[in-house]
């Protein structure tokens, strides 16, 4: 009789907490739980914030405000979806608030007719790492960038995006297709 291998390889991990324990702890404002939550998700959420921000500094600001909001509203996390998904939603909302605050969005969306220039290296032929794609995304005007992020990466519908950004569904669609066309121009198409 062979000992059950499946259960044999579960090394004890120091200070591991389940998401549920983390949430419970955070509701009780337990500092250790808060730190756990932060350390578990900070790097990933920074990845989200960077996509919406113009630069690293702005992303840090959004991340910071986002986490404050996470901790202050942790009680409203119902546990129906994943904790990560919930935190991500808050980050995205915080990023949008930040954009709205800076009025960048409206301005950019209103400037529909303005064509912007492709970067001089108009094709990036190498393989794409996420950080290369990030650089590309960050060159997009705010309106394009925001709509592209929300639709293609976060998976919201154009109707939802319209509601979130206070623009029409049609504007969201046209912003998106223009952003997409721009990205396609920039990234060589590889048809196998």
């Amino acid at each position: 009789m062979q000992p059950n291998i499946a259960t044999l390889h579960l090394p004890y991990q120091e200070q591991t907490m389940t998401d549920e324990q983390i949430v419970q702890g955070c509701i009780q404002k337990n500092a250790i739980a808060q730190k756990h939550l932060y350390e578990k998700f900070a790097r990933k959420m920074m990845g989200v914030c960077l996509r919406y921000a113009d630069n690293h500094e702005e992303a840090e600001d959004v991340l910071q405000n986002g986490f404050v909001s996470v901790f202050q509203n942790i009680e409203s996390f119902k546990g129906t979806g994943s904790l990560e998904g919930w935190i991500r939603k808050i980050m995205v909302n915080t990023a949008l608030t930040n954009i709205r605050k800076n009025k960048k969005l409206k301005q950019n969306i209103e400037l529909e007719s303005v064509e912007f220039m492709l970067p001089s290296t108009n094709h990036i032929n190498e393989s794409f790492a996420a950080k290369d794609l990030l650089k590309i995304i960050q060159t997009l005007p705010t309106g394009f960038k925001t709509v592209f992020n929300l639709y293609a990466i976060e998976g919201y519908s154009h109707k939802e995006i319209g509601d979130m950004l206070g623009i029409s569904e049609g504007t969201s669609k046209s912003q998106y297709s223009r952003a997409k066309a721009y990205l396609q121009k920039l990234i060589p198409i590889d048809r196998e």
């Binding site: 009789m1 200070q15 500092a31 900070a42 990933k44 909001s69 901790f71 009025k103 293609a152 396609q184």
Partner: protein
């Protein structure tokens, strides 16, 4: 990352960003903590604004008083709460709002606008220092006239805000493993500080005490501080101290052939109260078992005979002095 088929640009981006992570400055966590810690004061500024919003005429005074600093601080602490006051996005700079009530003396009013501005650059206030605006008046140097009804309210609220600043604990750590060393200080204005570290120990008249926690537990540190004008306020924080019992990493193979190299299957421990180890053959027969705080198996069974080469399984249960239960299971390859 591999080149991806990118005629579907959405997929390319979605896939690439799925598990994308980026570095975060360590300072960010400090800022978050600071913002959370101050969240209680955020409520007060909201109250303040609600109260003065309707009954009082407010002006923006160019040479800012102490209250300005307070408002700036409270502003960042209020982040995340629903914004009762919305600033136009353009009001990014230094029109610092100040509230002045003719019957309320604001001490230390000599602080200059430059000082207040500097304050907005501190990490704590970096969270959000742009959202406050007191409605409708951006002219400098206008007098404020408060009507009678709101006067007392305002006074109380301001007094409350001021009191917040007498005792305010700053700690280098709010949790960690024993022995946990924390440097504490009073960020507030109070001059006479009494500290209760929550573990039965106290300190008097120390502005920056250093305290060591050597037993796991959750401790409440209470600072009671008295200002120069005799007001006493207190602040508290919780510090969670956990044990650090642990087992060493376990190798995946050993060679008990007396050549001095990996002759034993060894598990070391730290702060472990007791440990049981059982080593089984592939067929489930126990070849060796051991109780103690260290394990050192030489590859012999209970009778002292050398066991044959092959893979063995171990099950280890241990309990730390801090009550932590550690269980390790795995396999070890024995060759000679």
């Amino acid at each position: 990352m591999n080149m991806k088929k990118n005629d579907n640009i959405e997929d390319l981006f979605k896939d690439s960003f799925e598990n994308f992570e980026a570095d975060v400055k360590p300072k960010t966590w400090d800022n978050i903590q600071a913002a959370l810690k101050g969240a209680g004061i955020g409520v007060i500024i909201k109250t303040l604004i609600n109260k003065i919003g309707t009954n009082t005429i407010i002006a923006v005074v160019s040479s800012a008083a102490t209250v300005v600093g307070t408002i700036m601080i409270m502003n960042w602490t209020g982040t995340g709460a629903k914004k009762e006051v919305n600033a136009p996005a353009t009001s990014q700079t230094a029109n610092l709002p100040a509230v002045k009530d003719e019957n309320t003396t604001i001490s230390g009013a000599q602080e200059t606008a430059a000082d207040s501005k500097k304050e907005t650059n501190t990490p704590e206030s970096a969270v959000n220092n742009k959202t406050i605006e007191i409605k409708g008046n951006t002219n400098n140097s206008t007098e404020i006239v408060a009507n009678h009804k709101s006067k007392n309210d305002l006074k109380n609220v301001i007094a409350e805000i001021e009191s917040e600043k007498i005792a305010s604990i700053n700690s280098t750590a709010i949790g960690g493993a024993v022995p946990l060393i924390v440097n504490l200080s009073n960020k507030g204005s109070g001059k006479i500080n009494k500290w209760d570290f929550g573990d039965g120990k106290t300190a008097k008249n120390m502005a920056n005490p250093v305290h060591v926690y050597d037993t796991p537990g959750i401790y409440t540190v209470v600072l009671t501080s008295t200002s120069v004008d005799g007001k006493t306020k207190s602040d508290s924080i919780k510090i969670e101290v956990y044990g650090n019992s642990s087992l060493s990493d376990i190798a995946s193979s050993f060679t008990p052939n007396d050549d001095g190299d990996r002759d034993y299957f060894i598990i070391n421990s730290e702060n472990i109260k007791n440990m049981n180890a059982t080593i089984l053959e592939g067929n489930g027969t126990i070849v060796y078992s051991y109780k103690g705080v260290e394990i050192k198996w030489d590859g012999r069974n209970k009778k002292g005979e050398k066991v044959k080469e092959g893979t063995y399984y171990y099950i280890i249960d241990a309990e730390g002095i801090d009550g932590k239960k550690i269980e390790k299971k795995g396999s070890i390859k024995l060759t000679r």
